[in-house]
């Protein structure tokens, strides 16, 4: 029963993702994307990674998506933008990406046979993750903080608003 639930969640995740990426309205797309991320979080939980599931909800579906919301609000594209977006999603534009994606999927299906290997069925607790993080991975934690610093400084500079001048190019 619960196994069936897993496949249902997976289907939901894929469906929500496809819908999200084909919306004309950015805010709607975002809602679907959050749905997809929540579904993935449920899958994490089912696979025995409760810590990751929590983080997926908190950071991915929470913090990162909120960033998107902020930007969409700042841009304030409105209905005109949505009309335009619908125009860009013309059927002809679908052909090449659709074809290529299908080919990629077929290639992947060819590779993934059934080897009988399953997930372990055991949960890896947050405690174990924490020990691992501050044990062998301690340098990774430090480097991740450096990465966030680079992102912080970079985003701060890039997004800063300057008063436009006539000489701009």
């Amino acid at each position: 029963m619960t196994v069936l639930l897993f496949y249902l969640t997976a289907a939901l995740a894929v469906f929500a993702t496809v819908v999200a990426l084909t919306r004309a309205n950015a805010a709607h797309a975002l809602i679907y994307l959050i749905l997809s991320l929540l579904a993935v979080a449920v899958m994490f939980f089912m696979l025995g990674a409760p810590f990751a599931a929590a983080l997926e909800v908190l950071i991915y579906a929470g913090a990162i998506m909120v960033l998107f919301v902020f930007v969409i609000m700042m841009l304030n594209l409105g209905d005109a933008g949505e009309e335009q977006e619908r125009g860009w999603l013309d059927a002809r534009l679908w052909i090449v990406p659709g074809l290529l994606t299908t080919v990629l999927l077929v290639e992947m299906l060819l590779v993934f046979g059934e080897s009988g290997v399953t997930t372990s069925g055991h949960s890896v607790s947050p405690k174990e993750v924490g020990i691992s993080l501050y044990g062998p991975y301690v340098l990774a934690v430090e480097l991740a903080s450096m990465l966030l610093m680079a992102a912080l400084v970079g985003a701060y500079h890039v997004a800063r608003r300057f008063i436009d001048r006539p000489g701009d190019i």
């Binding site: 025995g48 913090a63 991975y137």
Partner: protein, 104 residues
């Protein structure tokens, strides 16, 4: 609650499909915002694959990698959204088909 016994290939396939969706979005969408969303989907699919592998070996490493992928996604998106604002300001559009001052 303990995890489920699910064929590893199935989980990886779900991750693969999500990955392909992300790539498809990257090719399909002209709007930079959607491109960034596609990117998030792709990174998320890699994270799912890591979690699945971690569940298969019953190790914490998979979740640690997930955490790092999360950090990467956050960093990418922070700078990326900054660039969205910049592009909108300079080009008055987010249509990446029109943002082609640099070309042959």
């Amino acid at each position: 609650m303990d995890g489920l016994l699910i064929p590893l290939e199935h989980v990886l396939l779900v991750a693969g499909i999500l990955f392909a969706c992300g790539l498809g979005g990257l090719m399909l969408r002209r709007n930079l915002l959607f491109m960034l969303m596609s990117l998030e989907v792709m990174l998320n699919s890699a994270a799912l694959a890591f979690i699945a592998a971690g569940a298969r070996w019953q190790e914490a490493d998979g979740q640690v990698m997930f955490l790092l992928v999360l950090t990467v996604a956050a960093a990418e998106v922070a700078v990326g959204l900054g660039l969205v604002l910049q592009i909108q300001r300079r080009y008055r559009t987010l249509d990446m088909d029109a943002v082609t001052r640099l070309q042959e």
